[in-house]
Amino acid sequence: MTHLPFKYSSNIDKRKHIQDLTNAYDVWHENSNLYTNAHRIPDCFLDKKYPAYHAQESADVINADRSKIKFFIIIQESLRFIDNKKPELTIPSLSYLKADCTYIFITGDNFNADDFPIYNGNGEKLSYINIYFPWWIYWLTPVDFSDPTYNYSLTGYNKFYDFYSKKTVDFISLMGTMRPERQYLVRKLYPKLYKKICAVSIADELLGHTEIFDHDFDYTPQQFWGDRSVFKKLSVAHSLPIDLYNQAKLNLVVETQIAYDSVDNFFVTEKTIKSLFTGIPFILYGAKNFLSNLRKIGFKTYSTLWNEDYDSLPTHKERAKAIVKLISNLENFDWQAAIPELERIHYHNLKLLNNRNKIVTPAFLNLEHKIIEIINQVESA
């Protein structure tokens, strides 16, 4: 039985993500040889152990270890988490790390380390490699009654979008924290907000057809999830507000990482998964080629029904403008006639979410391959 080549070097209270990843890997590896004609996955990493740190570990602890390779497990985060220019998000220890070893980041974002150099406080470039692991796709859509992170499965709820019920607004958009790129989009949406054809929540503020937020919908209370940015003390992000979705013809998904226009990146979060899972049609304000990357994984988007060219525009401002224009064009869209195609898209995506082992198996194989490659390179240097 092989395990990822980690020794837990983070303090015990910070080990969760490391343990989550290693546990997931162990179950995958154990099961991967179960089938008669399956690709046999050899045991690897049997003797090797390198320190693995949680992103919040202190530099003192990290620097004290003399290993040539050190892992950072940041599976729930992305490029923005290592961006020194954004100190509120950045891994605090990055500025204090020694440039005397190779760091391996395992993140939920497929960016290339060469495109995004990191320097410590002495101006030394840190040698690091990013390995992409699509944790959110693996993790969301949990089993019923398992301890839920996003409560998709709790209580007696229906989880699926109702294509046939009467809609109150053209679109809904539920955003969390205020960020410049989100603010930019909201400003562009002002005419629609005035016309009240949409309902938007951003950083506790409700805009547009705000009455729909006053309905007796069932949301997760904020206190259950801690200090998340939410509206009306309710955590929409951490539940599946299907009754609210059912008020709208469309969900304008505002993804977490939008504004790194100079670096190719792809970081899927629960914001996207919730639309894919429930089936609510969506337009997605994300990084360049976000939809294209989703399609490469196997998901279907809405290019058969409307133009999704906005996805490939190089800057987030251009994408925001194109999205607002598309929303205007969709004001006269025949949603009734589109239902069969919308259902086909949902059926396809629901199957893929239930087949996401097909996505995660290549990701685990890639993880193994990259780790072995890097270890061999560094050890032989």
């Binding site: 997931a24 179950v27 995958w28 154990e30 099961n31 991967s32 179960l34 089938y35 008669t36 004609n37 399956a38 693996y138 859509t141 949990p142 089993v143 019923d144 009654f145 398992s146 301890d147 839920p148 409560n151 499965s153 709790l154 209580t155 007696g156 709820y157 229906n158 989880k159 699926f160 007796d216 919908f217 069932d218 949301y219 997760t220 209370p221 259950f224 309710l234 539940s239 259902e343 949902h346 059926y347 629901l350 199957k351 239930n354 087949n355 996401r356 082992n357 097909k358 995660v360 198996t361 290549p362």
Partner: protein, 381 residues
């Protein structure tokens, strides 16, 4: 909190309490979830719960007026056997049997060796529905999610045979049914039964992906011994996987459910045999207990009554049901599967959503369990 105290150390009890506690902890997470819906139990009343395999000595030594017995994986057919102590149980107490089989205690009389009638009630807990579509890479009971194989039936793929029938352990009703199938459809069906293959047996020799013969101590909760058949020199454990490549070779699966031969009392015991076809989308005819399909539809699943007659389902004796199924299969040999594709996909789409929404089934089931238990305590406690 349901007032039960475990008195046996067993996996059945662990699993039941794990599900129950999660449900109890999270059912009020939502803002408008109404506490008043839930039964309030007195905190100072506790009743013992024993595993089905517990000895009569242990069960009888407890002085409670109500005693709970639990078995999550077997139906009422096994009750006289699986309650090892049934012969020695004290008839002066009231028993509550928690079982995955929905049946009426009044129709299944249990007596001890003194021929005293045992007073008991049934609480339905459809464990197979709960556990059978696990999240990927969680240790799987039936390995639905292991490896990177597709899990869904391919409606469009060219079919080599009309029907596929796979059943395990030798039982009189299955032997009767298998003889009929061999005689009538041996030229267009692949049949496996009790370790032997019949009809177009070449199908089983193909290099499909099956799980190896393994005793899944780390994956599964029980001891597994029932390999369905041996092919290519390898014992295949079809029962514990979705062998969708094999499914793809046929238009229809003939499912022989576990309790097909029980005509003495109404019962509804869903096992992996059914959830596999619901999940994968493969069209099916089910040889089960009377009204089995009707009970499935009451849970929200769609069956095939819009495409062919399912009247066989309501016939009172299993021999009649076999006869009607054989007649139906003769008609289905000529069925236009191509024309039915949109409906077949619609049925699968619906069933996949019901499975993904099975928290609704469980929520209702647990609410009903609470109410039943409260009523039993009031009457017998």
């Amino acid at each position: 909190m349901i007032p039960l105290v475990p008195k046996s150390k067993s996996l059945n009890i662990d699993q039941f309490f794990s599900i129950l506690h999660t449900w109890e902890n999270y059912r009020d997470v939502y803002k408008y979830s109404s506490n008043h819906l839930y039964t309030k139990f007195s905190s100072d009343r506790q009743f013992p719960i024993f595993d089905f395999s517990e000895s009569a000595d242990v069960i009888n030594s407890d002085q409670s007026s109500i005693k709970f017995l639990i078995e999550l994986k077997e139906g009422s057919q096994k009750i006289p056997d699986w309650i090892v102590s049934v012969n020695d149980l004290d008839s002066s107490v009231h028993y509550v049997i928690i079982t995955p089989d929905k049946f009426n205690a009044e129709q299944l009389i249990l007596k001890n060796q003194l021929s005293e009638k045992l007073n008991y009630s049934v609480v339905w807990f459809p464990y197979h529905l709960y556990c059978l579509t696990p999240g990927d890479f969680f240790a799987p009971l039936y390995n639905f999610c292991s490896m990177d194989n597709n899990k869904f039936y391919n409606f469009s793929k060219e079919k080599e045979i009309s029907f596929l029938a796979m059943s395990g352990t030798n039982r009189p009703e299955r032997t009767y049914f298998t003889i009929k199938l061999k005689k009538n459809f041996g030229d267009c069906s692949a049949i496996s039964y009790n370790g032997q293959t019949y009809g177009v047996t070449e199908i089983f020799e193909k290099d499909f992906q099956f799980p190896r013969e393994v005793h899944h101590s780390s994956l599964d909760s029980g001891v597994r011994t029932g390999n369905i058949f041996s092919a290519g020199g390898i014992k295949q454990d079809v029962g514990h996987a979705v062998s969708v490549d094999l499914f793809d070779s046929a238009y229809l699966q003939i499912v022989s459910e576990t309790q097909a031969g029980i005509d003495t009392h109404d019962n509804f015991f869903v096992t992996e045999k059914t959830t596999k076809v619901l999940f994968t989308g493969m069209p099916f005819v089910i040889f089960g207990a009377r009204d089995y399909l009707k009970n499935l539809r009451e849970l929200g699943f769609m069956t095939y009554e819009s495409l062919w007659s399912e009247e066989y389902d309501s016939l009172p004796s299993w021999r009649q049901r076999v006869g009607a199924i054989i007649s139906l299969l003769h008609k289905l040999k000529e069925f236009d599967w191509q024309a039915a594709l949109p409906t077949l996909r619609e049925i699968h789409y619906n069933n996949l959503m019901v499975l993904a929404n099975r928290n609704k089934i469980f929520h209702n089931c647990l609410l009903e369990a609470e109410n039943s238990i409260a009523k039993i305590i009031k009457e017998h406690g």
